[in-house]
């Protein structure tokens, strides 16, 4: 059943009544709002259930305190596979399938969703989820543009939602560097370097016959219309032209895809997760362009600085007082952290504020590279300083009828 926007933004609970499920604890009995939960189970649905979504589905399905009830995907095959896995786990046929995520959000019995669609959908889905009172776990990179990042943060705060980004590598991949930064053994820290790329490219792939399996309109969503091509929508992790991760309309390329991990790790290591850079300096060394992103506290993150290693930390090595390294709440990694925070209403490890601040780094660097000049960024106003042209690249118009 296709949900129209009329129905989607309706406040009636008709969708719940139509679905109905046995043996599921209603949302109102859980800790979704302001009441202590008599049960620890969080009722969840998944949106974008192939590739990374498959992994997230498995992670949440494996938790005793999660009751998984619905899946949604633009690809029928992936959706049906996830339903089968869910039903097998519970020994019933209760997991519902939806071609349109708005049908999941309209269900009052669902407390939280996880999102693992291509990046061009993230902002729309996170914001819509918050408006419908859902907590959200969203795969990285959480934002596709600078502009939508601040809207996501504002909406999550507005509705008091727990919204977690989905980079498990931020905490897990850079432990040695993070520890030495936080325990004071690196001394005063000046900079950290991230080597990652490439940026995404324009896509003009030829039309191919569209398989029956995919709802192409829903796959494209707010992105510009383009004909179906298997490489355009492939979930491959390649960023060299064989997947949506390669192309501007859906992704920032390796710069934001792996960049979400690396820049997330870098901002964590040097503890600037609550800040955004205020200067983006485009420089050149040995014939190679690179960017330095400078923070108001003097810290600098460099991108692809020639001759400097991945996650290399510039420091004085004079021992100073350390501080405790943040860690996940609950058990079961980043997905367990999210579930614990849904219950406690605490901020998750990759809270949306931190996720968006770290994603601002590759977005700002990308705009500097594209315009081939240095920029100044006013993070309070979320606009460039005296650069109306750069400001134009903060946002993109959404294809009708999508609006945030």
């Amino acid at each position: 059943m296709k949900t129209t926007r009329r129905k989607f933004l309706s406040s009636s609970g008709a969708a719940t009544a139509a679905v109905g499920f046995p043996s599921i604890i209603p949302s109102s009995a859980l800790g979704n709002a302001d009441k202590p939960a008599p049960s620890n189970r969080i009722v969840m649905g998944g949106i974008g259930i192939g590739n990374m979504g498959r992994g997230d589905h498995g992670a949440f399905l494996g938790k005793n305190d999660v009751q998984y009830v619905a899946v949604c995907d633009a690809r029928k095959g992936a959706m049906n596979q996830a339903k089968a896995k869910t039903d097998a786990k519970y020994g019933n046929k209760d997991c519902k399938t939806y071609a349109d995520y708005r049908d999941i959000l309209s269900r009052d019995d669902i407390d939280a969703v996880h999102i693992a669609t291509p990046d061009h959908w993230h902002a729309q889905m996170i914001i819509d989820s918050c408006r419908h009172g859902k907590d959200v776990f969203c795969q990285k990179p959480e934002s596709l543009t600078l502009g939508e990042g601040s809207l996501m943060v504002e909406t999550a705060k507005r509705y008091g939602r727990v919204v977690s980004g989905g980079s498990q590598r931020v905490l897990q991949d850079y432990r040695g560097t993070v520890l030495r930064c936080w325990n004071g053994s690196f001394g005063k820290i000046n900079s950290i370097n991230v080597n990652v790329g490439p940026m995404s490219q324009p896509c003009n792939l030829p039309p191919e016959n569209q398989p029956d399996d995919i709802d192409w309109e829903m796959w494209l969503g707010p992105a510009p219309w383009a004909p179906y091509n298997s490489k355009r929508c492939s979930g491959s992790y390649s960023t060299s032209g064989n997947s949506w991760r390669s192309y501007i309309d859906y992704s920032g390329g390796g710069m934001t895809d792996w960049g979400a991990h690396h820049f997330g790790g870098a901002t964590f290591a040097v503890d600037v997760r609550e800040l955004q850079p205020n200067k983006v300096v485009l420089d050149e060394k040995d014939g190679k362009k690179f960017v330095s992103l400078k923070y108001s506290n003097g810290i600098e993150i460099t991108h692809n600085k020639p001759g400097v290693g991945q996650m290399h930390v510039g420091r004085d090595n004079v021992q100073r007082e350390g501080k405790e390294v943040p860690k996940y709440a609950g058990s079961g990694g980043i997905s367990g952290d999210f579930i614990d925070c849904v219950k406690t209403r605490n901020k998750p490890f990759r809270h949306i504020d931190y996720a968006i601040n770290s994603m601002a780094v590759p977005h700002l660097a990308t705009i500097a590279y594209k315009l081939n000049r240095s920029l100044e960024w006013d993070s309070a106003k979320q606009q460039f300083v005296n650069d109306a042209e750069a400001d134009r690249l903060r946002n993109r118009a959404r294809r009708e009828p999508w609006q945030i």
Partner: protein
């Protein structure tokens, strides 16, 4: 190279290597600060939109004009606003065009636009945030079609001005537009709070609580009231 790229636009169908028109993107960047060259480039791009080049070519032209468009290219883009295939990309360029003419073109296209396109135009006006007349958005808010009403509400929320609040507060909140209307009012209240206008913000949250908000909106309104304390 640039001439070749413009020549390539004539046959730039889906499937042609984007490198064929890369020189235009390079020119977009290279002409920064060079008003005369920019105007010449913009004129050439706008002229392409009036020809029968393939859709992929016009899409790309709109992308280039997103960065460099001025009042000069508004007319060519405005002609595409009612085109079901090209309306979105025309908005892609117009939404960020600083010229007042761009707003005028978007507003002027609302009335006769088919529903889906109308929603898109309203959305783009909201996304501009400033220097947008409230009246056409308030009219959309009052539209009998809930999808258009929702679009008008969200656009007013994105603008967040006192005038937008007035329109939203005066609107009839129904089960079908309540989520959008409440969210829009929250955005307005946050805008007031950001400008130190606590009493105005509190009044907005109180209004939301009176219209019977959804459970999610009730939580948001309560949080808002606390923020006003």
């Amino acid at each position: 190279m640039l001439d070749q790229a413009f020549e390539a636009l004539k046959t730039y169908k889906w499937g042609v290597d984007p490198k064929a028109i890369k020189a235009i993107q390079d020119a977009v960047v290279a002409t920064h600060g060079d008003t005369a060259s920019r105007k010449e480039l913009e004129s050439k791009l706008a002229a392409v939109l009036a020809t029968d080049v393939p859709r992929a070519a016009k899409d790309s032209v709109c992308r280039f004009l997103k960065t460099i468009g001025t009042a000069h290219s508004v007319e060519a883009l405005a002609k595409l606003l009612h085109d079901a295939e090209l309306s979105h990309m025309a908005r892609h360029a117009l939404q960020t065009n600083n010229a007042p003419e761009a707003v005028k073109a978007l507003v002027g296209a609302i009335e006769k636009a088919p529903k889906k396109i109308k929603i898109g135009i309203i959305s783009s006006l909201g996304a501009r945030g400033t220097d947008v007349p409230i009246a056409p958005l308030a009219k959309a808010l009052e539209d009998k079609d809930p999808e258009i009403s929702n679009a008008g509400a969200l656009a007013l929320g994105a603008i967040g001005s006192s005038e937008a609040v007035k329109a939203l507060a005066g609107a009839k909140a129904t089960d079908e537009n309540k989520i959008a209307v409440c969210d829009a009012m929250f955005q307005c209240a946050e805008n007031m709070l950001n400008h130190g206008k606590k009493s105005e913000a509190k009044a907005i949250y109180s209004t939301v609580l009176k219209i019977g908000p959804t459970k999610a909106a009730k939580i948001a309104a309560d949080l808002g009231v606390k923020a006003c304390a």
